[in-house]
């Protein structure tokens, strides 16, 4: 009898706990940074959430204007002065981007190369709208490749900057979003918010957790409506996906996507989408581009992923075949039937 009463009492307590109101989740969308930014904050009331997001909105807008390669602004000015070969005062907002992206470019063996701004512009992918084609002339591509612009051509002395190669133009399109998300996460932490997701155009960094459970993230299918897979995140992790469906143009039955191979001068081929896991969003962003350029052969992409220090890679090639690092084996749950036949790479 005592046992029965104890069980009943415990059940009642459990039910009462279950009836406790859930801590608030504050969510807000921003049309900024040239994309849709979705902020999710756990256990933050509306007034505090609104205040935090207002600060992020201001920061994102500033970063978007400052870091556009060809608009009038700090980076646009840098790109105007680089061909002179002379030292000039680099705007302070650009200095950390140059330092950080130079490190990642070197680690990627040049597959992530923000110095190829002219090549990206030649293909038409520097503007906010995707180009309609046709592809640029072969001679124009060859001429730019022959000049071999690299981040190592830059000489940064304090805030004094010059380029030893007049062909260098900086385009942080494959890096700025990740760097901006990292800045946003730091801003939230400074405000004492430690459970949050900052998602900019589908790429995200999540910190903390959703109360008693991890954050649940869906990964959209690259070729059909709905989800390809889901994954739980807790602690601090970024997920970035690059795909050939994002920005592209079709010409004569061939798809030309926005990720340009700095070695060939042509859009990367062979991979439909790459999803990269890393702690820092800037690493995940640069790595998604570098792995896409490396191509679907694990002998090519795995060393790049290792060098950049990512924690997981899942890629879908243009034939729909899925490859994955073993680190994701127990974490990714496929949401499609039949489940894909996954080919696992060597460990990272």
């Amino acid at each position: 009898m005592k046992r029965f009463l104890s069980f009943t009492a415990l059940l009642m307590v459990a039910l009462l706990i279950a009836c406790t109101p859930r801590p608030p989740v504050y969510q807000e969308q921003l049309l900024t940074f040239g994309t849709l930014v979705d902020i999710t904050l756990w256990n933050v009331d509306e007034a505090r959430g609104r205040q935090a997001v207002a600060i992020l909105a201001r920061d994102f807008e500033y970063m978007h204007n400052a870091w556009h390669a060809w608009h009038r602004g700090p980076l646009g000015r840098v790109n105007q002065l680089l061909p002179t070969g002379e030292f000039f005062s680099c705007p302070p907002s650009i200095v950390p981007l140059i330092r950080r992206s130079s490190e990642l470019s070197e680690a990627s063996g040049g597959l992530f190369n923000p110095a190829i701004g002219q090549l990206i512009r030649l293909w038409g992918f520097a503007s906010d709208e995707a180009p309609k084609g046709p592809p640029p002339a072969v001679e124009a591509i060859r001429a730019l490749l022959a000049q071999n612009p690299q981040m190592s051509d830059l000489q940064l002395d304090g805030i004094r900057l010059r380029s030893r190669n007049p062909a260098v133009r900086l385009d942080f399109g494959a890096f700025a979003k990740g760097y901006a998300i990292d800045q946003a996460i730091e801003q939230l932490r400074e405000q004492g918010i430690n459970n949050a997701i900052v998602n900019a155009g589908g790429d995200l960094r999540a910190i903390g957790r959703h109360g008693g459970r991890p954050w649940r993230i869906g990964i959209r299918h690259p070729r059909q409506p709905g989800m390809l897979a889901s994954v739980d995140i807790e602690g601090d992790e970024s997920i970035f996906t690059s795909g050939d469906y994002e920005r592209y143009f079709d010409h004569d039955g061939k798809r030309y996507q926005h990720i340009i191979d700095p070695h060939s001068g042509y859009p990367a081929e062979g991979i439909s989408s790459v999803t990269v896991f890393a702690k820092q969003a800037d690493v995940a962003d640069a790595a998604a581009t570098a792995v896409t350029v490396a191509g679907p052969d694990p002998a090519d992409w795995l060393p790049v992923a290792r060098a950049l220090g990512v924690t997981g890679v899942m890629l879908v090639d243009t034939e729909g075949r899925v490859q994955m690092t073993p680190s994701l084996d127990k974490r990714i749950y496929f949401d499609i039937e039949p489940k894909p036949d996954v080919r696992f790479s060597e460990p990272l």
């Binding site: 009898m1 029965f4 969308q29 921003l30 049309l31 040239g34 994309t35 849709l36 979705d38 999710t40 906010d128 709208e129 995707a130 309609k132 997701i197 998602n199 589908g202 790429d203 995200l204 999540a206 959703h210 954050w215 649940r216 993230i217 869906g218 990964i219 959209r220 059909q224 409506p225 709905g226 989800m227 889901s230 997920i239 970035f240 996906t241 795909g243 469906y245 994002e246 920005r247 999803t275």
Partner: protein, 133 residues
């Protein structure tokens, strides 16, 4: 109704077979009710439309309709029904909003950035807190 302490019967005699059956059935029902009503299916019942960052409409996803949304460049066209919503036309060049296709998952979102029109599926307890793409 209750036996006094001195005449307390063992529990197996205190509850009838019928009582046990009801108790077991109730316990078995709990996980089903949890899955159906507490955890949620993740599917949204409504979509919210924003224009230029401001709320513009709330749509019942099961009410079949075609909607013209005036954005900053022109009109974006939405198709709604069967628990889904999609862009079918928009005055943008790259048509990313249209290529996104049907949305039905709570939290999923599509946007025509040049026209500054976005649509998001709302759900009480979405399967996902955020969607990567």
């Amino acid at each position: 109704m209750f036996a006094s302490a001195s005449h307390c019967k063992p529990m197996k005699h205190w509850l009838t077979k019928g009582d046990w059956l009801v108790l077991i059935a109730a316990l078995l029902l709990v996980p089903g009710l949890y899955a159906a009503y507490w955890h949620g299916s993740g599917q949204g019942l409504e979509a919210r439309v924003w224009v230029d960052g401001k709320p513009w409409a709330r749509l019942d996803l099961f009410h079949v309709q075609h909607l013209d949304v005036p954005g900053v460049l022109g009109v974006s066209h939405l198709e709604i029904g069967n628990g889904q919503v999609r862009f079918t036309d928009s005055p943008c060049q790259n048509r990313q909003c249209i290529h996104t296709g049907w949305l039905s998952e709570g939290g999923d979102v599509a946007a025509c950035l040049p026209n500054r029109v976005s649509v998001q599926i709302m759900a009480d307890d979405p399967r996902f807190d955020s969607i990567n793409f």
